[in-house]
Assembly symmetry: none
Homo-oligomer: 212 residues x 4
DNA sequence: GATGAATGAGGATTCATTCAT
DNA sequence: CATGAATGAATCCTCATTCAT
C-alpha cells in the first residue's frame, strides 16, 4: 500500500497547507468570524502547529495577504515586461489581473474585501500595494498623454487612475462572484470604455457639465 | 418646569441616537469588532434599551444599512427626476452620489467596506441595492446607445455599467478617506473619462487588442 | 423562610466577595497556578463578573495586594500613634503586626510569599511598602541612638533595620504556618533578642514590655 | 581531527549545562512563568534531551533546588567544622552564608523566593532544609545558654532561632538585589544586633569578630 | 420605561510533554 | 544519541444577550 497521506511532514509543506486553509477560511467568513480552530482543522493539523509556524491570528492573516498579494503582483508583472505601447501594457496588465482573480477567487476576496475592511493593521498593508498600482497606472496614463497636446492636466491623472483601478476591481469582484465569467472579455470591455475615453481626451475633447 | 435635559425622549428620537451611534461605531471598528457596549455608551443609553428598540446586533446592523442606504438612494434619486439627456442624468447622479459620501463618510464606510465584507446575511442586503444601481446605469447606457448605430452590443452594457459603478465607488472611497477632496471635481473627471469613452464607442469606434 | 442568600447583590458586596475569594485562592495556589475559574467559583459568581468589576488577573492580584497591604498597615499604624519610647513603639508595632498575620494568614501569604516572588509588576508594589517599613524602623532606631553616645554609625542602621524587619517577617511566616502560635509571645521573644541581644540575655537580663 | 565544538558531551557535563540554564531561567521568571523551551534553548540543547536527562519540569525544578541547596549547605558547613565558641561559629556560618548568596544570586533567588512560594511539592523540600538550619541555630544558642544561668527558657530558643535565621535571610535577599553590597559587613552588623542587642549597643558595647 | 447585575458560550493563545525519524 | 514535528489540555479573556429590580 502506498502511503498517500503521511504524517510528520516537513515544515514548508505544512506552512503551505496552513496558508491555503487560512485563505479559504478567511475568504469564507471574514477575518473576525474566522476561527483558528477551523483553520487548523481544515489544514488537517492541530492548532498549536499553526501558532508555532505562522504565529498569531493577526500574523497569519498578514502572511496570507502577503503571499496572495505577491502572487497577484507577480502574475501581472510578468505580463508587462519589456517595451510596448501604453494601451497594450494596460490591456495586458488588466487581462493578467482579471485572469488571476478568476483563477484565485479566495485570494481576491481576502485581499479586496477582507483586508481592506479591517482596521489600520491590515488595511494599510494592502492599501500600500494598491497605491503603488494606482501610481503605476497614473504614470502609464501620463506617459501616453505626453505625446499629444493638449492632454489632460496633471491633477486629473491621479483621479483617473483611481477610477480606472476601481473599475478594474469592480470587474474583478464581479468575476469572483461569477465563476463562469470570462476575464478576457471583461478586460476587453473595460479597455473599450476607458481607452477610447482616454484617447479622446488626448485629442483635447472635453465633456462639460450642462448649464445647471 | 422646562426640562433642559429630558430623559424620557420619544421613541423616534432615541432610535435616531442609537442608529447614529451604531453607524459611527461600526464605521470605526467594523461589524465584528464593534461592541454593543460601546454603541450603547456612545448613544448615551443603557444596553437593554438598545435591545428593546432595535433588537440584536445583527438587526441593528441591518437597520443601519437600511437607513443609510435609503438616505443615499434618496439623495441621488432627487437629483435625477424629470426628463434629461443621458449624460446629464449620469452626471447629476454621480455628483449627488459623491456629494453624499463626502457629507456622510461613516455611512459610506459602513455600506461599502463593512456590509460587503460580512458574510451572506448583510452582503446580500447591500448587493441588492448595488445591483439595482448597476441595472439603472446599464439601462441609461442602453438608452443612449439605442439612438445610434452601431452601438455596443447588449452583453457589453452590464460589464460596462459594473465598471462604471466600480469607478464611482473607488472615487467615493477615496473621498471618504480624504475629507478635503472635492466631490464635484471628482465627478467631472470620471465623466470625462467615461463619457468620452462611451460616446466614442457609440460612433462605432472600437479598441482592439494588438495582435498577440 | 428568610432568604439568607439573595442573588443580585450590590456591587460593593460582590467586590468584597471576589477579593476574599481571590486572596484565598492566590494564597493556596500562588499567582500563576491560581485560575480565574476557581476564584470566580469560590466567590459564587461567574467569571465575567470578576472581569467586569476587578479587571484582569493581574489587576485582581494588585487589588488583593493593595487591600491587604492597607489593612495591615492600618492595623499597625493604629497601635503606634502618639508619643512613646522607641522600644515601646517597636514592641507595639511588632505585636500588632504579628497579631494581624495570625488573624489573616492568607493575606500574609499573598503579600509575603506570592507578591514578592512574582516579577516586577507586583514585587515592586510590595517592595515599596516594605521599604517604607524598613525606613521607619531605621528612623526609630536612629531616634533611639541619638540620645546616647557612642551609638551605632548611620550606615549600620539600614542593615539593622533590614535584619530586624526580616526577623519579624520570619516570625510572621512561622505564625502563618502554625495557627496555634501565640503572636504576643513571639513578639516578646523578638524584642528580647533584638533589643537586648542574645549575649546579654545570657547574663540574665530581660526586656519586659512596659505596663500597658 | 580535533573537534573544537564537540557535540557528544558526557552526560555529566550536559546535565550541568541544563541545570545551570534551568536555575537561571527559574530565577528570572519564576517556576510557572519559566518555559521548558527557554531552558532547553539556553542550555543549547533540544527539549527532548532535557526530558530524557532530568525528567519533567517538576523534577527539573527539584533537581535545581537540591543542587543549589547542597552547595549552599556545604559552603557553610565547611566553615564551621571543629571546636569553637558559639559566637564564632555563628559568625563564621553567617559570613559563609551571605558570601555564598553574593556569589550565587540566582541560586538564592530560586531557593528562597521561588521554591518557597510554590505549593507543597517544592516548598516542603526547601522547608526541610530550612528547619534543619533553624534547629542547628537553636542548638547553638542552647549550647551557649547551658553554661550560664539563668538563660533563656527552652521554648524561647526555637522562636529566637527562627527570628535569627529570618534576619539572615532578609540580609541575604537584600544582598541578592544589591550586587555591590559587602556580605562580610552585613554579617558583622547582624552579629552586633543579635548577639549584643540594640539596647546594649546604645551603651557603646560592640561585638568584634575573633581574630581569624 | 430604564438599568445595574449577571452569565453561557466561545475564541485566542500557551505549554508541558511525546513520537517518529 | 538527538531532534523537528506534533498535540491535548488548560487558561485568560470578551461579548452578545437577558433578568430582576
Amino acid at each position: 500500500m502506498t502511503t498517500t497521506k503521511s504524517r510528520r511532514l516537513p515544515r514548508a509543506v505544512r506552512e503551505r497547507q496552513m496558508l491555503d486553509a487560512a485563505v479559504a477560511v478567511f475568504a469564507e467568513h471574514g477575518y473576525h468570524a474566522a476561527s483558528m480552530d477551523e483553520i487548523a482543522e481544515r489544514a488537517g493539523i492541530s492548532k498549536p502547529m499553526v501558532y508555532a509556524y505562522l504565529g498569531t491570528k493577526e500574523e497569519l492573516f498578514v502572511a496570507c495577504i502577503n503571499r496572495e498579494s505577491e502572487l497577484l503582483m507577480t502574475a501581472v508583472a510578468e505580463e508587462i515586461v519589456g517595451e510596448m505601447e501604453p494601451d497594450e501594457r494596460l490591456w495586458r496588465g488588466l487581462r493578467a489581473f482579471l485572469g488571476f482573480v478568476a483563477a484565485h477567487r479566495d485570494a481576491w476576496i481576502v485581499l479586496y474585501r477582507q483586508a481592506r475592511s479591517q482596521g489600520v493593521p491590515f488595511a494599510s498593508e494592502v492599501e500600500a500595494s494598491r497605491t503603488r498600482v494606482v501610481d503605476a497606472v497614473a504614470a502609464l496614463l501620463g506617459g501616453a498623454a505626453e505625446r499629444m497636446e493638449p492632454g489632460p492636466v496633471k491633477g486629473d491623472l491621479a483621479a483617473m487612475a483611481t477610477a480606472l483601478v476601481g473599475a478594474g476591481e469592480a470587474l474583478a469582484d464581479w468575476i469572483a462572484d461569477h465563476p463562469d465569467a470570462d476575464p478576457e472579455a471583461a478586460a476587453a470591455r473595460l479597455m473599450n470604455l476607458v481607452w477610447l475615453g482616454f484617447g479622446t481626451l488626448l485629442t483635447g475633447a472635453r465633456w462639460t457639465p450642462p448649464a445647471a
